[in-house]
Symmetry: C2
């Protein structure tokens, strides 16, 4: 009995045949399950994420996030991947499907050729980081399924070291509503607040009236004056905050370095950095980095970013976009390397397509399944 | 049929039963093949490496290298590892067997718990890098065998990017003998010379009379005066050398940084650095690092060192001690990440225990076998 037949008759093999709720054949370069044998067969389909609650940012409100779901079929196995495109990052359904349509993955006979495939994708076009991440995640899912191991094990990580995830609480002018929002976060041990909006201090004070849970602060580049930013860091530190993410605009490097020197709270880079070469630059002004698969082009480079940042003595935060459990669970594989995790993207949507990571007592809990660890939900 | 039975009946399973030429039961905490099921069972035995040619260094000559061979048995699979202890690194058969005797790997139910096991070994005792490397290599062999993949594939590396290995040519006062030594190196595309001895320039000139092959220079901390070192770098650059390894004593950091600023050849750290935290310090005075498994505590940290060094814009050289094909082939898995390789350790010994990497047209060629890729030779 060869490996392939073995897999086909196993529970793992059976799992791979679960149906998808969206049509891939309409968009992909080939239909799943009938791809060229011994080759990588890519297919993909747009999939609009429905947000449970409208998303309030400094200047906008959203009820959906554009997303493209990806499958790579190889020798009877299916690898799942995903590109999520929050509008501020510059990618869209049009750019992602255009990039993926231009890829010829059929030339590759092996998902393990991940560095070659990344080199190839860079040659096809720069940028397109979420589209590249979708391919990378699906390849990791395939590799892990071939090796019958989840990626946290392949990376040698101890899953018990995975941190708690934070859960975002937003401001509400109505005290009863505000209390309900804070109550909704109570299963999570860490609360995240987005700042740079009105009522920043009111929100923190409202949370502190209900709970002593540590608070992560994401300023989203919202503070322009370094002295005021420093004052805010002290104010937040006095109220049990853990760190401040991207306090100042990403171009204000000197001001951020000035703030980092003085702040009692660690200063974490988010918008400032995307990929591996950015980590070293970030070290000059930040105490840590927020790694997100949709910025890093996927898991392969994300792991390297975590290794590099930790070797530089930096803190590692692991984040996500609004995503299905596919992207979030792929990111969770790396979570034992993270000091902090913000992996609530799948909790924010009403139409998840996958079963994946669980939050148990607030802690990121990686499924005991091969690859990225997700099972497609029945349509 | 479960995976274990499948493996036992496969060619891979058959391979694992090949006999070892040395007795492990006399030294190990448990005998191989009868260890606790579902647990890691460590055994080891000293194994003196016989050098084909006496090894001439600045102040000594050697005909053997002390070595300890390690096996970790897990669920019917055997992982091979090795500690090689050239005298100048401070480990010996006594320290390695003492360290390994003090380990209780039986407490671990899984070779994938590699980071936990490294943490545990650090708690048992600091230092002991070669002993830790032996355990790490055997665990990687097991993990790769369980996943049925070689590590270069698990790391996503392209084996065609593996560099040529260098082969060391030493000085001989007899011109006919010198020519024969240079001739012996002709299957290799890159020549390595050790400097800091007498006749450094005569050796390079003798090589250049026979071949235009690029030359790697290892000064072994031999140059004490920075101006003279710079002059030598220019002289070597004019004669087609590639880089200079450890030109000055490891404590002369400022002088090495001064030299690096001015040298036409890259300056590579060897004795200066051992492990991951040393890489960042090395970046201040060196253009690159020489990674060796016996210094890095094995493959897990070696991979991280390569990632970190490349992200810092440094060159990566991959080296070895005098070792059997076990240690050298384990190192070769990482070679596609290296700019230069010096993986001739197994070629220098007369009593190799393994079949492993091959040098084809001078190039490091990684075997297409799972784990670290070695097969024990029959006794």
């Amino acid at each position: 009995m060869n490996r392939r037949k073995f897999l086909q008759t196993s529970a793992l093999g059976a799992m791979m045949t679960a149906v998808s709720p969206i049509s891939f054949s309409a968009y992909g370069k080939s239909t799943v399950k009938t791809g060229t044998p011994g080759r990588l067969n890519l297919s993909f389909a747009p999939y609009e994420l429905q947000l449970k609650h409208a998303f309030n940012l400094a200047k906008s409100q959203r009820t959906t996030t554009p997303d493209v779901q990806v499958e790579i079929e190889y020798d009877g196995l299916t690898g799942y991947g995903e590109a999520s495109m929050p509008p501020y990052l510059g990618e869209s359904v049009a750019t992602v499907t255009s990039f993926l349509s231009g890829l010829d993955l059929n030339q590759f006979n092996d998902p393990f050729r991940i560095e070659e495939i990344h080199d190839y994708m860079e040659k096809v076009a720069p940028g397109n980081r979420a589209a590249k991440a979708a391919v990378d995640i699906a390849l990791h899912d395939l590799m892990g399924k071939i090796m019958r191991q989840p990626w946290y094990k392949i990376w040698g990580l101890d899953p018990s070291k995975a941190p708690c995830t934070s859960f975002t609480v937003s401001y509400d002018a109505n005290p009863t509503e505000q209390k309900a929002k804070i109550e909704e976060a109570s299963p999570y041990k860490v609360i995240k607040v987005k700042m740079g909006l009105d009522h920043d201090k009111e929100l923190v004070e409202a949370i502190r009236r209900s709970t002593d849970a540590p608070i992560c602060v994401d300023a989203n580049q919202g503070w322009n004056v370094k002295e005021a930013a420093l004052e805010m860091c002290h104010w937040l530190n006095d109220r049990g905050c853990l760190f401040v993410e991207q306090p100042m605009p990403k171009d204000m490097i000197d001001e951020t370095a000035w703030l980092r020197e003085r702040s009692p709270l660690p200063i974490i880079a988010d918008e400032f950095l995307q990929r591996l070469p950015d980590v070293r630059r970030a070290a000059q002004a930040y105490d840590g980095i927020n790694i997100k698969l949709m910025k890093s082009t996927g898991m392969h480079e994300a792991y390297k970013m975590a290794v590099h940042a930790k070797a530089l003595g930096m803190k590692v935060m692991l984040g996500c976009m609004t995503e299905t459990s596919c992207g979030v669970t792929a990111a969770a594989q790396l979570s034992p390397m993270a000091d902090w995790a913000d992996l609530d993207g799948n909790l924010l949507i009403a139409n998840d397509r996958f079963d994946g990571l669980k939050i148990v007592d607030g802690k990121v809990t990686i499924p005991d399944r091969p690859g990225i660890g997700v099972l497609p939900l029945k349509a």
